[in-house]
Symmetry: C2
Subunit: 326 residues, 2 copies
């Protein structure tokens, strides 16, 4: 099992990546991590972990500038860590790719270099929302600003297989983000998506309102990338906001540890980053502020995706959908 890890992605690169890679290989004897990035920047942090022969380095000197459009990265920065790392998977030299770099760039490069699965219009970015009683996978959280009804059904299908393979949920419950529970609520796109989902063989439980997201009424929550992105970022910010409001009292009460646990629980990076669902390969996108623990968790997600045969299952399911005309 070889995971290509973008060593240049986090705000703290490459030290978070190196430490995360070391933690991951130490925890998993069958794992080899290929650090992809600027060799010269990697020498020093790696020197602290001599004797670890299941970490190797592949040189990728190009830096992505903030002026580079995400879609142009493969063409304009062919020797960037993203282009080289995904290229390793495309050529079979790695089984998966993990990056905490620009979400837009990783998505665009993944689609170009891994290609979408047959039957997928546009891959979706999925991430976990911690809820009252478990994790809900929300898709899409930013890859597709506007979606057609059948694309939302594809997200539901891909998300369901993800929850089966990686979370062991046999028949994941699928919900549709909407402003009311009735079938005729929301935009026309959502009304059609509701009908398609209800007619599919997915375990569709209906519309989920904003106030019910955290009640864990579904395992896969489907929405367009605009709504998903706004919600995800808002959720990330609200925990810190509330703790600040309560901070003086919490400090006095010695509750800081409990609050830190809660914040960590609410930090999606700690759940292993966001897999890009629907490409012909494994591409996991971590938060730019990922800690070594979050990087290691992201590698863990990639490993479980490869071992479970996730991509093959998705391809099978999509061809079944195509055959049945859904």
């Amino acid at each position: 099992m070889r995971i290509a890890l973008d060593a240049m992605g986090t705000d703290d690169a490459p030290s978070s990546e190196v430490a995360g890679a070391v933690a991951a290989v130490e925890a998993d004897p069958g794992l080899h991590v290929i650090l992809v990035g600027d060799e010269t920047a990697l020498v020093r942090p790696l020197s602290r972990f001599r004797g670890q022969d299941r970490i190797s380095v592949i040189h990728a000197p190009d830096r992505i500038a903030s002026s580079d459009a995400p879609a142009s990265v493969v063409r304009r920065r062919p020797r960037s860590s993203i282009s080289v790392g995904l290229g390793l998977q495309a050529t079979g030299e790695a089984d998966a790719f993990v990056s905490a770099g620009s979400t837009g760039a990783v998505m665009a490069a993944s689609v170009l270099l891994l290609r979408p699965l047959k039957g997928v219009d546009r891959p979706a970015l999925a991430t976990f929302f911690p809820t009252n009683s478990g994790l809900t996978l929300v898709a899409d959280v930013g890859a597709n600003i506007e979606c057609k009804p059948h694309q939302l059904v594809q997200f539901a299908s891909l998300g369901s297989i993800y929850m089966q393979d990686l979370q062991g949920i046999e028949t994941p419950r699928v919900g549709l983000l909407n402003v009311g529970t009735e079938a005729e609520k929301g935009t026309e796109v959502l009304q059609v998506a509701y009908r398609l989902l209800a007619a599919s063989d997915l375990n569709f439980v209906g519309n989920i309102e904003g106030r019910d997201i955290l009640l864990h009424g579904c395992d896969v929550l489907v929405c367009d990338g605009f709504n998903g992105n706004i919600l995800l970022k808002f959720y990330e910010s609200v925990a810190a906001f509330m703790v600040r409001k309560l901070a003086p009292g919490l400090r006095v009460a010695g509750l800081r540890d409990k609050v830190d646990d809660l914040l960590r629980d609410l930090d999606y990076a700690e759940h292993g980053g966001a897999p890009l669902l629907g490409v012909n390969g494994v591409s996991v996108i971590c938060h730019g502020r990922s800690s070594p623990r979050a990087i290691s968790a992201g590698i863990g997600v990639a490993v479980r995706a490869v071992r479970s045969g996730l991509v093959g299952h998705m391809a099978q399911d999509l061809s079944r959908l195509e055959t049945s005309g859904a």
Copy 2:
């Protein structure tokens, strides 16, 4: 100053409404509240407040059934508290209307009976989000599921006047909810809205991302009713969710009071309900779970709207917009 109050709106009607009306008139010697609802149901709760001659009752016996479409309430339930209460304003017998009844029904009836202001396509529902350092008015939060760019500009204009008149903010900062700060982010509707807002004489500060909503980077946050509704309901639920997660520790630490304060601070009902912006009158919609205090706050919002001449200012501003061709 006569405020017509729907006495049948809250889950706890009419006792919350009666208690809220009493508190409001006791705090404001210039105020008269007209309770609109089922006379027989109002006798007992009112009997507890004998001698209060600035509260009167107008009988409205029709009950709105859950099967009534919001748009049909005026026609099918002409003697409901919503139809009668708004009718009082339309005929000049009341200066404003406050209700904790069905949001959809109050909106539809307000548009029918008060009519939109000239230059307003569709009124918007606005509500306050508590942030780090003050309140941000979010519009729309559910009246308009899909919006055209110029409608978003109307919301910005109406919201700005609301913040001037009711919150005393001289040049309210207007933000546009989006998935990134750059002008070309988001849907085509948002890209056009961005250009229109930037070219307007509003104090437009640019796009606001989900993670920045609580940083109080703007006084008026403009979005379509779908996104606003999802966000509002999610925000209402997340506070309770986090407190549950921290509950055992908080109890031990004697922090319950502080938490209750925070929850109240986050409860939009306590900020006086949501005004419907853009109708030719004052219609304030409170939460169905409103406490007497929340009802009283809603009445307070209506009073301030009438005293400040809000509707006249909005009409003026809209005619100016029309003249300038924006």
